[in-house]
């Protein structure tokens, strides 16, 4: 442990806070711009070029605003809820791998750098745990506000999180199961490892009988991302992810027309900003995890023969961000298009459609995976 180690750890801690904040700044701006485009408006265009600093301006404004505290609140929980919302969001961000690591010789030692906050070997479980913890913030905010609309929003939040977490978990299980067969190391719950297993093309894993060998050339062009065999799991995951982040069309937690602002009705100033920040960080996290699980994470063309080394090192980051941005665009696109579900529709979709579909898909995946691994039971 020398000076450089301390410096890099410190830098990593700072980056773990700064990157989500910067991502949210661009995300909120992007959402407002895309929404405006889709509704034939212009969107923010005053602060900075194309209004890109609008979110910064809004954040500063919220920072300096009075934090109105209603008389009936349970103050301790009321004050803790925004922090509780923010912590899981930042914690989830830590386990998402952004790109391949690189080595750099500095201070007389060759050091390894990874584009990931922490490569946990139970990363997927950690993410699921954190997304469950996030709902506490909503419930506590709703309850401690001492007001009926936030309470209703909080209760809705609990029911929604329970309903959709099951479907999301089951969809992820199918992916983990599938990933366990694509390597000789067996199963894994690490995000980094899951990305590693999606590199290359399909001809490396699929072997076809003689007559169909021409088709392997076609497979050789298709990247080995999980989206192809696990498309249904992806659809279930995305629906559940939108519901988990309380985004339209599942934003019953903060349904403006019914519940004023939902769980954050009684919040103002910086506490409100923290909820806002948490929501958008969660949105980014979910998109990034969708990319990691289904779109091969940072996998992409490397061009290492043509481009200089420094660009090759950071190109995976670019691919990762590009894919994440694409998923985020879908999020925003959906919000701009579809109306909010009614509450019973939300529950029906969760319990009667998504969970059975996820279960069936899980069983189907299990069958395919076990036949691939152990052969037919009668053979």
């Amino acid at each position: 442990m020398d000076f450089w180690d301390v410096l890099f750890v410190a830098a990593r801690v700072v980056l773990a806070f700064v990157i989500p904040l910067v991502a949210v700044i661009f995300l909120v701006w992007g959402e407002r711009k895309i929404n405006a485009d889709m509704t034939n408006r212009i969107g923010p265009n005053r602060a900075g070029p194309w209004g890109i600093l609008q979110t910064v301006a809004d954040g500063l404004k919220l920072f300096f605003k009075e934090q109105v505290t209603p008389r009936k609140v349970e103050f301790l929980l009321y004050a803790a809820a925004p922090i509780l919302a923010l912590i899981p969001a930042f914690m989830t961000f830590l386990v998402i791998p952004w790109g391949e690591g690189f080595t750099w010789e500095i201070g007389g030692k060759v050091r390894e750098f990874a584009f990931v906050g922490a490569d946990l070997n139970i990363g997927v479980l950690f993410f699921l745990a954190m997304s469950s913890v996030a709902v506490y913030a909503i419930v506590l905010a709703g309850w401690s506000s001492g007001s009926k609309y936030p309470l209703l929003g909080g209760i809705r939040g609990t029911a929604q999180a329970i309903s959709y977490e099951a479907a999301m978990g089951l969809a992820i299980v199918a992916v983990i199961l599938f990933a366990s067969t694509t390597s000789t190391d067996g199963g894994t719950l690490s995000f980094v490892e899951l990305v590693e297993r999606q590199r290359g093309t399909w001809d490396e894993v699929v072997s076809l009988p003689g007559g169909l060998s021409w088709f392997e050339n076609v497979l050789g062009l298709i990247p080995r991302w999980n989206i192809l065999p696990q498309f249904i799991a992806f659809v279930i995951f995305m629906i559940a992810a939108v519901a988990e982040t309380n985004r339209a069309p599942f934003d019953l937690v903060e349904a403006e027309q019914e519940l004023v602002g939902g769980f954050h009705t009684e919040y103002s100033g910086f506490r409100f900003a923290m909820f806002f920040l948490a929501e958008y960080t969660n949105m980014f996290n979910m998109s990034a995890i969708a990319v990691v699980l289904f779109f091969g994470g940072w996998d992409g063309p490397t061009f290492d023969q043509w481009l200089p080394g420094i660009i090759v090192t950071f190109l995976p980051l670019f691919w990762f961000l590009l894919k994440t941005a694409a998923v985020l665009f879908v999020y925003i696109w959906i919000r701009a298009t579809w109306p909010r579900l009614r509450y019973d529709q939300l529950m029906n979709l969760g319990w009667k459609r998504l969970i059975p579909a996820a279960l069936v898909w899980l069983i189907a995946s299990t069958v395919v995976v076990s036949v691939r691994q152990f052969g037919w039971p009668w053979a």
Binding site: D37, M38, T39, N40, R41, I42, N45, W333, A336, W338
Partner: protein, 239 residues
């Protein structure tokens, strides 16, 4: 699968709009063309000789549903009359915070003294400034309208000269036979305001009306226009 198709259809609509035309006008930068009959701020007009049109009859104050007009008439000084009538508007105040811009005052005015303009930027920093008195409402002798903040970049004097189309659009009784007539008097600066374009005789609607309703087509187009007095009994003819 019909529902999936519907979902996709919705997504397609929003995606297509990204390349669609923007409806937002970047307001202070580009001003939108206002409709002819836009109800904006009032002005008090003068005759071309500088006489005030207002005769202090208080009909506008009586017609006002928001009670935002306060008028006090006074007898005209004999040696230097302010208006051609017996009396003139000695005090004339409009509380723009109460005004609902319905133009009933314009309708009530017997001398076309009060008209509405196209100017709508009237925000003030205190309530007293929102009460427009005669000094703001009355146009100058040369026809220049007054503005509370003439140096303001938003103060557009041309907008103040544009009278609301209502009083230029309808003939007395709103009858088609009087289209194109200008029964209103001259004003300082602008002269006789022309009739609203949509009310010109070439209005296409007339062509599609059945003949018995189309009063104009029964008239000889070569004949000189009959005076208002001659046209008035036409109501009975139609019946």
């Amino acid at each position: 699968m019909g529902i999936l198709n519907d979902f996709a259809k919705g997504l397609k609509v929003t995606l297509r709009q990204i390349w669609g035309e923007r409806v937002t006008a970047e307001y202070p930068k580009d001003m939108r063309e206002k409709p002819q009959r836009f109800h904006g701020r009032h002005v008090l007009n003068r005759y071309p000789d500088g006489m005030e049109k207002c005769i202090g009859c208080e009909l506008c104050a009586g017609a006002c549903p928001a009670h935002c007009i306060y008028v006090r008439g006074s007898d005209n000084p004999v040696e230097a009359p302010v208006s051609p009538g017996e009396r003139f508007g000695f005090v004339y105040e409009i509380n723009m915070l109460r005004c609902i811009f319905c133009a009933l005052c314009v309708e009530a005015c017997p001398t076309e003294a009060i008209t509405m303009t196209h100017l709508f930027e009237m925000s003030t920093t205190n309530r007293e400034d929102a009460i427009y008195t005669k000094s703001e409402l009355l146009i100058e002798v040369d026809g220049t309208p007054n503005h509370m903040f003439p140096d303001d970049p938003l103060a557009d004097m041309d907008e103040l000269r544009k009278a609301d189309g209502w009083m230029r659009a309808v003939a007395p009784g709103g009858r088609a036979a009087y289209e194109g007539e200008t029964p209103w008097s001259e004003s300082a600066g602008v002269g006789v305001r022309p009739a609203e374009p949509a009310q010109e005789p070439t209005r296409p609607l007339i062509a599609v009306l059945p003949d018995f309703l189309n009063v104009r087509s029964q008239e000889d187009p070569g004949e000189p226009e009959a005076s208002i007095a001659e046209k008035a009994p036409m109501q009975e003819e139609e019946e």
